[in-house]
């Protein structure tokens, strides 16, 4: 079978509750073969044998220690998942995301940043795993937890930090803020504060890509769109509307669910009738995949396949990444409802530590090289803060700018120029 999603590659075995064995590996993939009309594989990861879920922690899914190492040992093939360059690139991106967000927290408590700030600590593997596989023209649509998505896509740390400080040198000249990171150059489409709002937008961007190829005849247009959103969004109507339309029109999009189990203080298990989100993909006619979102290499493997599918025109994919945010929902969230044991469980599966271990144990990089990267990132982040600090605030005249692309409102004439600039333009009304 052409698709790399072959069952043989990964084994999916049902887990007993709270198991401690380390033999089988955990990134079970649930998928539907793209060619079949009726979808949904029955080979599912069984989280528990009963339908009852422990409210405070997920049980029986994955172990505390990184499974990449175990997987490596259990597979007979000696091939590595990444090359040295790729490994270092991934490591640098993970560390950039983490260092940047930590610096945001510091700056917030010092009063340099204000409003709503939602940090991404702990979820870096999802952003790095997916976005580092994209080209510049591919688009990323995110939610309010968008700093790291913008950074992974290539928006300079300086621009993001200035935007957070509300300075005119920010990527949106200080007019967007933490929750609205837009970059035309890097095709980052926000930044949407309303959950679920970005999903139709992402579907529209994918629609444009297909339209350009089929109607406007730009034959090589194979741009893919990634839509990132959380577990809470998966109960929202817009999510289902877009799953339907994306599968109906076979749009080049990947729906990436960052399931961190919590929507502010509402546990996913309390809010959702069927918490296994990946199952909702096959209901609409697309593959649904569940992957360990704390492991950047596993995410990357799944991402390669999903993005490849979209690029080849085979349609959308729904990927559920099991991940966790180490901090509260936002910097204003006291984070009292989450069980410390759950937090500790996931803290032990920190994606950065996991990748570091993998790189060192497979001799892809030395401690010194990784330390150099960390130091470099520290400098980048400090430089970003300095730059943002020294940047000017927006001028008062900026207040009324950019409400419209065509402010006079007279529209565009047949010659393509604004009519209000045409000196011969008069009342313009035809006389009957």
């Amino acid at each position: 079978m052409a698709s790399a999603f072959s069952a043989a590659k990964f084994s999916a075995q049902p887990f007993p509750l709270n198991h401690t064995s380390t033999t089988s590996h955990d990134s079970s993939i649930v998928f539907a073969k793209p060619t079949s009309l009726f979808l949904g594989s029955t080979r599912k990861l069984r989280l528990t044998s009963s339908s009852k879920f422990n409210l405070s922690r997920r049980s029986g899914t994955v172990d505390a220690v990184s499974d990449v190492v175990k997987q490596k040992k259990s597979k007979s093939s000696p091939s590595l998942l990444i090359t040295k360059e790729e490994g270092l690139e991934l490591y640098e991106d993970l560390v950039l995301g983490r260092a940047f967000e930590d610096m945001c927290a510091q700056m917030y408590y010092r009063g340099k940043m204000f409003g709503f700030v939602h940090l991404y600590n702990g979820q870096e593997a999802v952003s790095t795993g997916f976005i580092k596989l994209l080209k510049q023209q591919d688009s990323v649509v995110s939610t309010y937890r968008d700093h790291v998505h913008a950074l992974s896509k290539g928006v300079p740390a300086r621009a993001v930090m200035s935007e957070l400080f509300g300075k005119t040198t920010g990527c949106c000249r200080g007019q967007g803020g933490s929750m609205h990171m837009f970059s035309r150059e890097h095709n980052v489409l926000g930044g949407f504060a309303f959950i679920g709002e970005g999903i139709p937008i992402a579907t529209g961007a994918a629609f444009t890509s297909k339209y350009k190829r089929e109607v406007l005849k730009e034959a090589d247009c194979d741009h893919v769109t990634l839509a990132f959103f959380g577990d809470g969004t998966c109960n929202n109507g817009q999510f289902f509307e877009c799953l339907n339309m994306a599968a109906l029109w076979k749009l080049p999009i990947v729906f990436v669910v960052e399931n961190n189990l919590w929507a502010i203080g509402m546990s996913h298990l309390r809010a959702t009738s069927d918490p296994q989100i990946y199952k909702k993909g096959p209901a609409f006619g697309m593959p649904g995949i569940h992957v360990d979102g704390m492991d950047v290499l596993k995410v990357r493997e799944v991402a390669k396949e999903a993005i490849g599918r979209a690029r080849r025109g085979e349609g959308p994919t729904l990927v559920e990444c099991e991940t966790y945010r180490f901090r509260g929902h936002s910097l204003a969230d006291p984070d009292e409802l989450r069980d410390p044991a759950e937090k500790a469980h996931y803290a032990a599966r920190d994606p950065i530590t996991a990748l570091k271990k993998y790189l060192i144990e497979n001799s892809l990089a030395s401690e010194a090289e990784l330390k150099t990267i960390e130091k470099k990132i520290d400098e980048v982040v400090e430089d970003a803060v300095e730059f943002a600090d020294e940047s000017p605030v927006p001028a008062r005249s900026q207040l009324l700018e950019n409400v419209f692309a065509d402010p006079k409102g007279f529209g565009i004439g047949p010659d393509g120029r604004y009519r209000c600039e045409d000196p011969k333009f008069t009342e313009g009304t035809a006389h009957v």
């Binding site: 200080g174 489409l189 926000g190 109507g237 529209g411 035809a430 009957v432």
Partner: protein, 367 residues
């Protein structure tokens, strides 16, 4: 030219006025007649053929030929890629339209009626209207949201609301309300070419009405400016502003008023946002009296904004209190007689104009 004809007629006897009524609405052979439906259809057709990035999306726009037959024939001409029938997912497809517009396509999103746009209002306001500002000019959204707005005939409360005031209060949107076929053609073409989000409020009861159109209007590059009102009837004594279907009522009221010697100036607003305050104020400075007419709910309506604008800018010129006529402050009833009195009628406009000119005892216009 019409004004000149009318002044000549003033001195003549009553029965002679009748031909003037028909002259207003249709010439015998001088100009072509076109329904608003055909005007919209031809505008869409021409814009879609001129620019391959324009596409139409909505419920029943394709195979059904349009819920109100506005997009008749377009599916056969342009294919299902460009005339997209959607599932019943207003929020979803409005958002898809905005996402496509971010990337340079020019979607025309049709809502079967604007009442259904409330399901998608998050995308109209939050992603379309505000994006150019939030991204500091990086993401402009050249999208048109169009569909019938306001009361129809006996469709009940949930299908009869007028959304002009709601959308026009939001910065970042342009809101257009055509009346005649000329308006429909010119404004829709301007809206499709415009790089900003436009809410295009049509009216179902106007779709079948015919208006005369000149050759200039039929030209494929005909466009009307967004943000300029049209003075449908020049007058001296009182200014009546109206938009969409109410323009027809205002014109009829003006004819009736003329018999009583009141020469009303009727302004067809055409554009609610940006509102053509200069034309309105110039007119009030000439006539010194103002009546605003709209179909929607009275509180926080379009008339409220116009009255405030005139009081702020032309207070010294007013000879009478400004008055706004709006729909009744109730959800639209179903019974035909109640529905009739829940929307402004020609008599209401006539009475209000007479009040403004101190020609009648100022009783509240009872139902």
């Amino acid at each position: 030219m019409l004004g000149v004809v009318r002044q000549k007629m003033l001195g003549q006897s009553l029965p002679k006025i009748r031909p003037v009524v028909s002259v207003l609405r249709s010439y015998s052979s001088a100009a072509k007649q076109m329904t608003v439906r055909d005007a919209l259809n031809s505008a869409l057709d021409e814009e879609m053929s001129a620019d391959p990035k324009v596409f139409l999306m909505g419920e029943e726009v394709g195979e059904y030929q349009g819920a109100y037959k506005i997009s008749k024939g377009l599916l056969e001409k342009y294919g299902p890629e460009r005339v997209r029938d959607t599932p019943i997912t207003e929020a979803g497809f409005a958002g898809i339209g905005v996402g496509a517009a971010y990337y340079g396509l020019k979607p025309v999103v049709e809502f079967m009626t604007f009442n259904f746009s409330m399901q998608a209002i998050d995308h109209i306001i939050n992603s379309a209207a505000k994006s150019n500002y939030m991204s500091a000019g990086q993401m402009s959204v050249p999208i048109v949201f169009r569909g019938p707005n306001g009361a129809a005939a006996g469709v009940g409360a949930q299908h009869s609301q007028c959304y002009a005031a709601w959308y026009a209060s939001c910065p970042g949107l342009k809101v257009l309300t055509p009346y005649s076929s000329e308006d429909a053609r010119g404004l829709l073409k301007a809206a499709i070419r415009d790089p900003d989000p436009v809410v295009f409020l049509e009216n179902e009861l106007l779709y079948g009405e015919s208006f005369p159109v000149s050759d200039e209007v039929l030209d494929s590059s005909f466009c009307l400016p967004i943000g300029k009102a049209k003075i449908e009837r020049v007058g001296r004594d009182v200014t009546i502003t109206a938009f969409s279907r109410m323009v027809g009522h205002a014109l009829k009221a003006a004819e009736i008023l003329e018999k009583d010697g009141i020469d009303a100036e009727v302004i067809n607003l055409r554009s609610i946002r940006p509102l053509d305050r200069s034309t309105i104020n110039a007119s009030v400075r000439k006539t010194n009296r103002l009546i605003t007419v709209e179909e929607g709910f009275p509180q926080h309506g379009v008339g409220a904004e116009i009255c405030a604008s005139v009081v702020e800018e032309s207070f010294a010129y007013l000879d009478a209190p400004v008055e706004r006529i709006a729909g009744a402050d109730i959800p639209m009833p179903y019974a035909a007689n109640l529905e009739r009195i829940a929307v402004p009628q020609v008599e209401d406009i006539v009475r209000a104009a007479k009040r403004a000119c101190y020609r009648s005892v100022p009783l509240a216009a009872a139902a």
